[in-house]
């Protein structure tokens, strides 16, 4: 059995660094370049607000060539910030609070022969919508019209992105579902396990470790957190015979405590993992960010490994037996506590990995990132059927696809709403979920 556990970890260790293949490309992040300019700035002069976590940003390119030194200002809510575009054309202005800001590009600072394209509003108003970063692009060049992608290629792009997002949700959802299946606990602190993975990855790489080391360590950290949680909290509670509803509320308390502990040490700002800016790969009319594609393959590989472990190994069989009926499993000689401990460890590692991939997908690491996808993870698990591992996988992929594809018609700030509505509607007609069994719903 230990060999199997070791195999899981070996697999996790081996697969995680693949995400990081991108670190070798020197892609200066916009936040990095602005903080560099902020240091040399006259404190009384115009600010680019690098100390704020809410940011307006974009990239300025003319026919693919980045433009440096173009002045962009953001005004609104009694605040004014300005910045110059960096060598890679990126710019970012921090603002003290979310709200509507007027962004203006100073056309006199554009190089000769370059002008804003037609129909490009300047100045324009941008409004924050829940996220701490908004992007606005100024298109340049004469007569450029907004590129009209064909519907099919947009759909394909969204579908690939959705698949990638769904698979990273599935990583966390499988852990949640295993925990639910074996202990009956609906774990509301799972989102914090997701956050912890990304935050640890950021912490380790901030210590100077290479991404190849930092990411596997973060996944190990997630596994250790799972082990610790079960050892210190959940096992003693199971021993006391605490009911499921009190345990659920305990998990909420844990979620709040961990979230604010992370905020305490990590701060409220959005940070980037190494290699967060990845080049976009072009396949004919379809363009997909490389990280999205790598993330898709990593999560696919990990889930396949988990599936093989569950279906083919003794410990996998034991896990499924405990999920089916703990007392019967115990009676037939399975060490239930050990299986549950292993499930927590695996769940923690998977959640941490999901968190790292989520940090690349959005992109960004923040203290509340796990909380933001917790409900989508729940939606995936509920859609597939609470407590079924493959249901969690199917449900998460459906949620991921739905979230991304719905952005073709829905406003981007409403994309999570669609998935949650679908979850509620499915509960109406098929409460046990897609792969769930009737008897589980009580």
């Amino acid at each position: 059995m230990l060999a199997a556990v070791a195999a899981v970890f070996a697999a996790l260790l081996f697969s995680a660094p693949a995400v990081h293949a991108t670190t070798t490309t020197p892609a200066p992040s916009p936040s990095g370049s602005t903080s560099a300019t902020a240091e040399g700035q006259d404190p009384d002069g115009p600010t680019n607000g690098s100390e704020y976590s809410d940011r307006i940003s974009g990239v300025l390119r003319n026919a693919g060539v980045p433009l440096e030194g173009v002045k962009i200002t953001a005004t609104g809510n009694g605040y004014e910030g300005e910045t110059l575009t960096a060598a890679n054309g990126s710019w970012s202005i921090g603002v003290p609070e979310q709200g509507a800001f007027e962004v203006e590009l100073d056309e006199s600072t554009l190089p000769d022969g370059v002008a804003l394209a037609e129909n490009q509003q300047n100045p324009r108003t941008v409004t924050f919508a829940g996220t701490s970063n908004i992007t606005t692009l100024f298109l340049l060049g004469e007569g450029i019209v907004l590129q009209q992608d064909s519907f099919l290629s947009t759909l394909t792009e969204r579908a690939v992105a959705g698949l990638s997002f769904g698979m990273l949700l599935a990583l966390s959802a499988v852990g949640l579902s295993l925990i639910f299946g074996t202990t009956g606990l609906t774990n509301f602190s799972h989102g914090e396990m997701v956050t912890l993975g990304a935050v640890l990855a950021f912490g380790f790489s901030a210590l100077g470790l290479s991404a190849w080391l930092a990411l596997p360590l973060a996944v190990l950290g997630g596994a250790a957190f799972g082990y610790l949680q079960d050892g210190v909290l959940w096992k003693p509670l199971r021993r006391r015979g605490t009911g499921l509803v009190p345990m659920m509320i305990v998990s909420i308390g844990l979620a709040v405590a961990v979230r604010y502990t992370v905020l305490f040490f990590f701060g409220g700002a959005m940070q980037q993992l190494p290699g967060a800016q990845s080049p976009t790969l072009e396949f004919g009319p379809i363009s997909i960010p490389r990280n999205t594609l790598i993330s898709l393959f990593v999560s696919l590989a990990v889930i396949l490994i988990i599936a093989v472990l569950l279906l083919r190994t003794r410990i996998g069989k034991a896990t499924r037996a405990v999920a089916d009926n703990p007392s019967l499993a115990a009676a037939s000689g399975i060490d239930v506590d050990r299986v549950i401990r292993l499930v927590w460890v695996t769940g923690g590692a998977l959640a941490a990995m999901g968190g790292i991939l989520w940090a690349y997908y959005r992109p960004g690491v923040s203290f509340n990132m796990g909380q933001q996808i917790l409900l989508l993870i729940f939606a995936g698990v509920t859609l597939g059927g609470l407590g079924t591992v493959f249901g969690a996988l199917v449900g998460s992929v459906i949620v991921g696809l739905f979230v991304e594809i719905s952005t073709i018609w829905l406003d981007a700030d409403l994309k999570y709403v669609g998935a949650l509505v679908i979850m509620i509607l499915v509960l109406l007609v098929r409460p046990q979920g897609i792969l769930g069994r009737r008897e589980r719903i009580g």
Binding site: A129, L244, I249, G253, A255, T261, A379, T382, I424, P431
Partner: protein, 326 residues
């Protein structure tokens, strides 16, 4: 460090309108969870429905105050029915997930840019309580209530808020003593037994969900009054969890528990903030700054919630036999 001021500030929280709003919302949760056993994790959604249901009619079509309040209450009753239909026949954790999801749906919808004209998106709405303060019979001036000085608006909003709390407590107390209350408590203890007695469990659960939700939306209205503003960021899932902490502090199957719990919650928050800030300013604590001190308080809230649930689930006033779970 000015201990007197810190303690006075904390005491001031006992009668603040925000505490009253928490008390009302937690009382709604007591009806849901403490008495009926419904695990509603979307009380923040009910509060948001109340707040927006109140503010939007006033700002959008100049609705008079009573109409706005009725719209807010009606909207939250509709919200409760929509939530109840798919979930009340299912196990407790399904209701928990659906209610928390529904509360987030509400928050996303009022935050979306496409609704800015109606809901003000992320900035929210403001300046809609003119009618409410126009009803204020108290002449302008400064009033001293014990050591606390406040103006006529403060006094008026406190009187209204706490009058609502008292009325709501009386109402819930009478309802729970009535045959209706006995059926509802029976559902909490054993749903099937109540069904065997010929009661329509589904209908009773729905009524409890609506009643608690109405209390939640009244709380949402009260919450907006002193601020004269409603912002979507205030209605995240954390609000619900704080309400649960307040409810569990006081005792979830009691009428006065939520009120005392809300008071304690705010007094303790204010006290820890005052003491931590004071200690930092006086240089006793050097390793954290004031914004981190604010976060320490919420770490304590989470830990309190865990410890309460593990070691004293019945809260201060509660009776261990009267728990929604055995």
């Amino acid at each position: 460090m000015d201990f007197a001021n810190i303690f006075l500030g904390a005491l001031n929280e006992i009668i603040s309108p925000t505490t009253a709003a928490y008390a009302l919302a937690a009382l709604g949760l007591a009806v849901h969870f403490g008495y009926t056993g419904l695990l509603n994790f979307g009380q923040a959604g009910f509060m948001a429905v109340g707040a927006y249901g109140f503010a939007v009619p006033i700002l959008s079509f100049n609705a008079p105050l009573p109409v706005a309040v009725l719209i807010a209450l009606g909207a939250s009753a509709v919200f409760a029915v929509i939530l109840g239909i798919p979930t009340l026949r299912l196990r407790a954790d399904y209701l928990a997930i659906v209610t928390i999801a529904a509360a987030e749906i509400i928050r996303y919808i009022v935050t979306t840019n496409s609704m800015t004209a109606v809901t003000g998106s992320a900035n929210g709405l403001s300046a809609f309580t003119g009618d409410f303060y126009a009803l204020n019979p108290i002449p302008p001036g400064s009033y001293n209530l014990g050591p606390f000085a406040m103006n006529e608006r403060d006094v008026w909003v406190r009187i209204v808020a706490w009058a609502l709390v008292i009325v709501a407590c009386l109402l819930v107390w009478m309802l729970i003593r009535s045959p209706w209350g006995r059926v509802v408590k029976g559902i909490r203890e054993d749903e099937n037994a109540v069904r065997a007695l010929g009661k329509n469990v589904y209908a009773y659960k729905m009524q409890a969900l609506i009643l608690g939700g109405l209390l939640g939306s009244i709380a949402g209205i009260v919450f907006t009054l002193p601020r004269d503003a409603v912002q979507p960021a205030n209605y995240g899932t954390e609000l619900t969890f704080y309400l649960y902490t307040a409810l569990l502090l006081g005792g979830m199957s009691t009428v006065l528990g939520p009120v005392i719990g809300a008071m304690l919650f705010w007094v303790l928050l204010s006290l820890t903030q005052g003491l931590l800030y004071g200690a930092i300013e006086a240089g006793y604590i050097t390793f954290i700054d004031t914004s981190q001190a604010g976060q320490v308080r919420y770490i304590l809230v989470g830990v309190t919630l865990m410890l309460l649930m593990i070691f004293r689930p019945q809260g201060i006033l509660g009776n261990k036999k009267e728990l929604a779970f055995a």
